[in-house]
Symmetry: C2
DNA sequence: CCAAAAGTGTTACAAGTACACCCATGT
DNA sequence: ACATGGGTGTACTTGTAACACTTTTGG
């Protein structure tokens, strides 16, 4: 199951972890992207396990909580300066991976005592990240046997409460859609209005009226119409757009208005 | 500074704490109420300190995170089954009360080594609670020298990052106001529309048009008009209202609609 | 009677909803 | 030419904002 090098790396990681990290605290990242008209989430399948999980990490004593989440993103996805937002902290007393952890150690010939600190009950802080599918460079860590993208509306069998975490991240994203523009992080540099609509529909999980979506988006001023058109399809060529970064960031910060 | 009994209780608490609680993790509660036309937050002033802080607590190994928050509410406010909502987790690496804790121990004649676990860097999960001012029965704990209600828009000097936590709780409540009815927890059994409006205005921090507020509230169906009127003021007697609990809870659960 | 709050109505404008219509493109 | 998606427009409904008018009350 483990090569000699990986086994040694795993032992080294486990041996130092109990000193280096804040105990019983982790961060988990729902890394989301948009590909083939689907909102997808990046998942890992750990060595010797059947279920899938979110990429996560621990919080070093000298790190802010957000630093830890950014580190996960950098180490697993090779991405920096990404849209990343904390959305909820999960603290059920049953959040324990003791069995799975000991199981993995035994299978890999590692002394399970080294992993005692990982086998405890963990509180995890959930973050969601929005990334571009093409720019993402997934990097497995030593405990990963497989990884990949999954349609967020059709998840595989998940470990522990990770499907609940994903549900909550999606729910938060849906609410954020109310008051914020979304897309600069998920779409390529240029795109059509139709692409943007498909993104919104995949997030909301329901169809949107074409004409109304178009009007609302154009009125918001975050889009810049380009001269180019997208060709190669058996239909009328749509115009390409790009985000006006200044306007986009401005409307990200605008406060939500209550109607009275 | 400490009586003998309190000193012993404090020592006992500190001695067991490092075993009983998840290390370096706390919950803090912004307990909010409405009184004298102001949105108020309940604060504590610990022994020998000049600044104020939110009531908080630690998470027992056998407790869910939410249980810990509910315990704080019960121990400090004598309240059960209260509206309580997690809103953010604060994890700056600088969240350390080492100096203050050791200072308090020294002043109180307690061995500072007992408080080593409290003096570390803490990650805290923020909750806000909505309570009825009259029903609240504040109970000081052994480390409290003073406590009281403060206008959330005019806070006293706060310890550490607690003013930031309160700001975020208020901001969250303002956003929640968009999609949820608020008031059943904060107002007495019966109230006038004007009372409700003052509550909304104190949360939002800005005036609302009287006529429009009234129409919007009545249209939402969460209010039941009573026969009684409120008398005793030198003006026209307003009708009293109460919340329709069924409708209220229903609209609490309704999902936010995005305009498309 | 009067000041001030309560209850109600009016109007203008913006936003959301549901369509219908023509246009452009590769096959 | 034609099916299909793209771009645009219209009519209807609903929501928001600002404000005016009347009613009721205790002093």
């Amino acid at each position: 199951m483990f090569t000699k090098e990986i086994k040694e790396a795993a032992e080294a990681f486990l041996a130092q972890g109990s000193k280096e990290y804040v105990p019983q605290l982790s961060v988990d990242c729902a890394i989301l992207s948009f590909h083939e008209d689907q909102l997808k989430v990046f998942l890992l399948n750990p060595n010797g396990q059947t279920g899938w999980m979110l990429p996560g990490g621990y919080v070093r004593h000298q790190d802010n909580l957000d630093d830890a989440a950014n580190r996960v993103l950098f180490e697993r996805a090779g991405l920096e300066n990404i849209f990343l937002k904390q959305f909820h902290t999960f603290g059920s007393k049953d959040r324990v991976l003791g069995k799975e952890v000991r199981d993995m150690c035994v299978k890999g010939g590692i002394d399970p005592a080294l992993a005692d600190w990982v086998a405890k009950r963990f509180i995890t802080v959930g973050y969601y990240a929005l990334v571009n599918y093409e720019e993402m460079k997934p990097k497995p860590d030593i405990f990963t046997q497989d990884f990949g993208w999954f349609d967020i509306h059709h998840l595989p069998e998940m470990m522990a409460d990770h499907s609940e975490i994903i549900d909550k991240s999606l729910c938060t994203l849906q609410k954020d859609l109310l008051s914020q523009p979304i897309g600069m992080n998920l779409l390529p540099e240029t795109f059509t209005i139709s692409d943007l609509q498909k993104l919104y529909e995949s997030i909301l999980g329901r169809p949107i009226d074409r004409g109304n979506f178009r009007k609302k988006m154009l009125k918001s001023n975050v889009l810049k119409k380009l001269e180019e058109q997208k060709t190669g399809q058996p239909h009328r060529s749509p115009y390409l757009y790009t985000f006006d970064e200044t306007q986009y960031k401005q409307s990200l910060q605008e406060e939500v208005k209550v109607g009275f």
